[in-house]
Symmetry: C2
Subunit: 533 residues, 2 copies
């Protein structure tokens, strides 16, 4: 009990309605009934001027850590016992609290998921939870919280890393990021393609070297007390002679910062050390990096890196590289050599996923067993909506990625739980929500069908922990097999996620059933809902 | 030591460069030298189609809690001792670690701040830290993290609450919010004007009743196993007869949900309970709320609330209310009565501050003592920039809000630390960064000058904890004294933050000094920086 988390971080890290529903399920004998919920997102991030053609799934590790620890302990039960309803009576009764005391943990759930670091697409059930209805319901909020934001950040990181064309990208976003969310964001950024982070605690947790040099304040202190910028640079070089990176824009980048850095770099080399880099944090970064490269080359430091920062994102980096290609030759600087020496520090735009600040991931009930006991059949469940994009895919399913003869991913398929998606020839693939929209694939055009989800958490067994390097390798491998048109930064092609005929028919049957029941006669034209865009 | 936080939440919740700078200060005998840093933001949030004319400051409570606990304990010192530089040698030496072991906490710092919940404006130093340079420097990242995001969310909440014109606003954002950041966001939303949150843990921590009813999944479960929507509503009403709010859009809002709710509400009333509300979560919320109100009125439930949710923000609420004003009379519904029964659940757009996902708050060195000892004079410090908006206000200062004869706030003034801003007549007020831009106020036009900052954390003394209700009252009182033109949702007037002649002259003197030093002769036209927009 001593290491119980605060109320705000344990099992009460959830929405109130999960608890009121759970008590209702308990009273109706349904708390322990097996249910299945699917987690999926409906659209890729659209940043306004540019759009993601894919996502990188992330957050599973944090979720499973939390699920392994969170439970209704004495503090949580006391809190619920203290809640009073509108009448003044207790909102949660002793019977329900006793049930929670015994069953109020997540260790009876089974989670299957696409592993972290993989490319995923809208409507694909990235994660599936099966287990007792009450606890699977209570899990919803934390699961969405643990998955949505990291996936958003990993996706942005992947795009930024792509844009940087192999140069190192450093995550610098703590200061303007969303509170404690920056820790899971740093991890997600590293999964998504960042090489390092400035976040010291997370670097140590993940076994990486934290990155960073100095801020403007160092130069300010030396200006105020010890001479000026040159003295600040000398002090830094003396303290860190083998990893000396100097921030050159505190006073005047080309008029003061770069010349002072060159003086100190020459002194360093004379003392037997090689300088590592300069950092530019303001102004026209393309122009300044060309001029800085010219000065560094002329002074005999062609290998010193140039670290760029200041409101960078994938488009800003793309623009900088385009401008360098155009402008560098005019100053006698080799554009390719300059590109190769650049490093990017990316902060606010990465950690907030600027332009698209929330993934629309949802967690939907898709099946519930018809009676208690794991041998009883599943009853598929559905939710209707005026907006067909919001209708989930009911029932138990399996998910597959099909690769063509080039080895490139061509479609993700949602099949029945025991269905072999390659059994039919040709394969008829249905749009997940647009009626009648189909695609037909010849069996011969498919070189490989890969199962995407694996069991990652189950009763009695622990859970596998993936090293960061494995997750990063997954992303690189998946991007290599993703069509460049889907991968591109602006107006990407739409990658297909499709349903087999079996799954599509099951979905339509349920829609027909539900729309035929539970509907009193409509009271007239004005009582119809107005359709939504 | 047992209750030491994980590495990711303690004093290593910072950027690496703070630590490399701190060691350098230590080696130069400056680690314990008194320094002053100011926290301020430079621009109000601009959401694209609408803009904030003010901010609500929030986050101080969380920051001071963290500062009270964070320190370099054995785990942190071990982590730093394990860091290796590029040469393979230890990056942080024993001398520095010994210093951190003794002085590596924040209890020697003094923090003065504008209290949480108050209206604040760009360039106003909302928070000032004085104390040993090394620890004041290490504090930077966590301080910015703790202040920027909550201020952003409190500001958005304030606008949404304003737009709701007195109706209750509930914070529902956990599921799509940024990881653990949602806890500080819930607190900030409550400071900024939300009435309640669905976040169970934070509600208990803050002594509020968590809000929420049921989700679509409850109806789905009952459709699959126990009949349908009507049976789900009956079950909910039976479990929570005195706080029954029913979600009516799982199947068909007006064709099924509302009629079924009316049936259950009549049964509830017959059993001696009054129903509380319905919730609409999709479709044309204005149209649906008019039709739902009509049906509720006709059935004898004119007092039942209508809770609206689904991607709401201040503009969406404004639009809904405008549409209700236009459209309700056509259906014989009184628009004012309908407005009065509405409640808003606001999630993603609030918790991500959609459209403007990061406050640009910074923490800048503005002064450092010329020698050790608290009696020695302060030397003001400055950082130049091509962009004059980025030049901070150097030195020790005091901050004031001046109110006119109507009792309305008219300008915030940054004065010298011992300066009375009302001593001169007329008062000459200078733009914080535009040279030559001045405003002149007659002393007679000022009814009141209020000091804005108070000491909130200091060595030896604890720190004051404000109850949530006090912070919420502050916001309401400040908004009442804010010009409606500054407060409006779109294209607000710019509120003035000005410097006294003393402060302005001090800033200009430092700029002149710094631009005259540390600058080697320029090497030609191409070596000039290119100015930035």
């Amino acid at each position: 009990m001593d290491d119980a988390p605060p109320l705000t971080e344990g099992v009460l890290f959830t929405d109130q309605y999960q608890l009121t529903m759970a008590q209702l399920y308990f009273r109706h004998g349904l708390a322990g009934r097996d249910a299945q919920f699917d987690y999926f997102h409906r659209t890729n991030p659209d940043y306004g001027t540019h759009q993601a053609g894919y996502c990188i799934t992330a957050g599973l590790g944090g979720l499973l850590d939390w699920m392994s620890e969170a439970r209704f302990g004495p503090a949580e039960l006391d809190a619920l016992a203290a809640q009073r309803g509108a009448s003044g009576a207790r909102r949660f009764d002793d019977g329900f609290l006793a049930w929670l005391s015994e069953h109020g943990h997540f260790r009876d759930l089974r989670v299957a998921a696409v592993p972290e670091g993989r490319v995923v697409h809208p409507h694909l059930p990235v994660l599936t939870v099966q287990g007792p209805l009450a606890m699977a319901q209570i899990l919803e909020t934390s699961l969405l919280n643990h998955m949505n934001y990291p996936t958003l950040v990993a996706t942005k990181a992947s795009r930024i890393a792509d844009s940087a064309r192999g140069s190192a990208v450093l995550e610098f976003g703590m200061r303007r990021g969303p509170g404690w969310g920056v820790n899971s964001a740093a991890r997600a950024a590293l999964i998504g393609g960042c090489n390092f982070t400035s976040n010291v605690g997370m670097s140590h947790e993940l076994g990486l070297d934290p990155k960073g040099t100095h801020a403007h304040s160092l130069v300010q202190v030396f200006i105020a007390l010890r001479g000026g910028e040159l003295e600040a640079f000398r002090a830094y070089a003396e303290a860190y002679p083998d990893e000396c990176v100097l921030l050159v824009d505190t006073i005047d980048t080309l008029g003061s910062g770069v010349p002072n850095a060159l003086t100190v770099f020459a002194e360093l080399r004379a003392a037997g050390h090689e300088p590592r880099g300069i950092r530019l944090d303001s102004g026209d970064l393309a122009f300044l990096s060309i001029q800085a490269a010219r000065a560094l080359d002329a002074a005999g430091f062609p290998d010193v890196s140039i670290v760029l920062s200041n409101d960078l994102d994938e488009l800003a980096i793309w623009q900088i590289l385009s401008q360098i290609d155009q402008e560098a030759p005019r100053y006698g600087v080799d554009a390719a050599a300059l590109r190769a020496r650049l490093t990017y520090g990316v902060g606010t735009n990465l950690i907030t996923s600027a332009g698209h600040a929330a993934l629309d991931g949802v967690y939907k009930l898709v099946a519930v067993r018809s009676a208690d006991g794991s041998g009883t059949p599943w009853t598929p469940a559905i939710k209707l909506s005026e907006n067909p994009v919001k209708i989930p895919i009911p029932g138990e399913k399996s998910i597959w990625r099909l690769y063509d003869a080039r080895g490139m991913a061509t479609v993700d398929v949602v099949a029945g739980v025991d269905e072999d998606p390659l059994a039919a020839d040709p394969l008829v693939l249905h749009h997940p929500y647009r009626p009648g929209v189909r695609r037909v694939l010849r069996r011969d055009d498919i070189a490989e069908a890969e199962r995407l989800a694996a069991l990652v958490y189950s009763p009695g067994s622990g859970r596998a922990t993936d090293p960061l390097a494995v997750m990063r390798d997954r992303r690189r491998a998946d991007l290599d097999r993703l069509d460049p048109g889907v991968r591109r930064l602006v107006n990407p092609h739409v990658y297909h996620v499709s349903l087999t005929t079996e799954v599509k028919a099951n979905q339509q049957r349920l829609i027909d059933e539900v729309t035929g029941i539970d509907r009193p006669p409509a009271a007239g034209g004005a009582h119809r809902d107005r359709p939504q865009g």
